[in-house]
Assembly symmetry: D2
Homo-oligomer: 158 residues x 4
């Protein structure tokens, strides 16, 4: 991966604040493990209340971890005044989300003024073994103040 | 949409049982509103604990609703002995998930012995107005008993 | 589908000119069949030189038709001075591209100042029978003159 | 990437024969540059007849290269008697396809008896500089003789 130069010198505090501002992350028990310019690692312990019919973590919850990893990774490269929205993502589920702990690693593939493209991978730790269980590719959008006051294109509502 | 003929005459009870077997759906407060061969409608009330930094429902939670709608819709057309796994999906986020209630509608685009393809749409109800907020296209896989005993291809893990 | 109001009164001529400016469309033999605000239908005859190993049209060629249908549909709703770029798309292949003629229908799901979201479907006509063979969901981006002079965000390259 | 063990000792000849059996690859001028178990590199020279309105190679043609790279990579790990079909893919376009030569690199992320998951990247060579222009994630399906005689699941069909 290329080494990226953050536009916001306070990117780390900004990214942590954005992450901590999300009640969904607290509810799911997802935490930041590692954070750098254009890359992030999140982790989550198994919770029975977020499983599907076979006892594995639900694909939507794995997706929430992957999406947030992409969002934080993209956000580290955005200017100070930007807010961030997810445009779209694709999740591929390679193996059941079986394990005691799950890790979500994301990195920026291409940053841009408006759009940033990320890739992420989810891993399950089960009885000491680590398995790649899912991948994501996603598009994130920087919402700058000027854009936020005019009707927000494509992502803000009618 | 084409009218589909279920292979399992007890498809309705089977789909409800599969849905009810998912603790994640209870935790997220997602319920079945309507169910037919190859189509389903789910609903969820707003929960502050599943929001992101702007107070909207997190994209991963919306995705959990869309994915489950696809899964139930696909499951209604599978044979009695099948289990179901999601292979992949793409979520496009058209507008913020702002509202008091959310609806997830899915339908089968093409059923198959192994793979079933679905499309789903998420709507937000906010102050009496309904807005399309997200779409999904997804691939679901039927896991038949014979397949489940041999190493599960593509989706079950090493 | 919602009825859209074009921003460019000359949208029809502009869309035809953009389409006709693409040598790839001529080479593939793809033509515009129908065109309206936010929707388009393209068609292509079978060509042996664009087949894969089983004699069906190659998935990449079907994707070229779907992508162009999305692009023209989105372009009809953009302002006069905009250029257009595809951000991303997903293609799902439901059935082999077997037939004498192929039709690509696209419509805008949500237009926006920067991003426009489209859906498209490809159909094969084979011995008098029409089959849905592929679907696409895609994101298109309007490139406005101001944006084109500064380093093009997200899609134009370093 | 993991080192994969091909099931078919003649995987190389089989993959080359499958590739050479595709008229679309000849027409587009795409050739195999490198081939190993679960990985492949293809290349294509610029052709004016496959450009879009700005003189860049059309996204559908780039997708044809990426899809074929995924298909050949997946095929190297399939048993001798298998045929292969693409189930779905997502293409993200990071930069315009501007250059004299284009390279498509794919690798298998997870092989399976029925489904194989691949990732691919497209690069443009322009005036001595190499730029990542597009990425793909795709799902490929092995069609085994038994499956081919019964109604083909998910991809063939009415």
């Amino acid at each position: 991966m290329a080494a990226y130069e953050p536009k916001n010198p306070g990117y780390r505090a900004a990214a942590v604040a954005m992450f901590d501002g999300q009640p969904a992350m607290r509810t799911l028990g997802i935490v930041i493990v590692r954070l750098g310019p254009g890359e992030v690692e999140l982790a989550m312990l198994h919770s029975p209340e977020f499983t599907q019919q076979n006892g594995f973590i639900h694909a939507g919850i794995i997706t929430a971890g992957l999406d947030n990893a992409c969002g934080v990774a993209a956000f580290t490269l955005m200017p100070r005044e930007a807010d961030i929205l997810t445009v779209e993502f694709k999740t591929t589920l390679l193996a059941p989300a079986r394990g005691e702990r799950f890790v979500f690693k994301a990195e920026v593939v291409k940053p841009g003024r408006t759009l940033t493209f990320c890739e992420a991978r989810a891993f399950a730790e089960h009885e000491g073994k680590i398995t790649l269980i899912a991948t994501m590719t996603g598009t994130l959008m920087a919402m700058l103040p000027r854009m936020a006051t005019s009707p927000a294109p494509g992502t803000s509502g009618a």
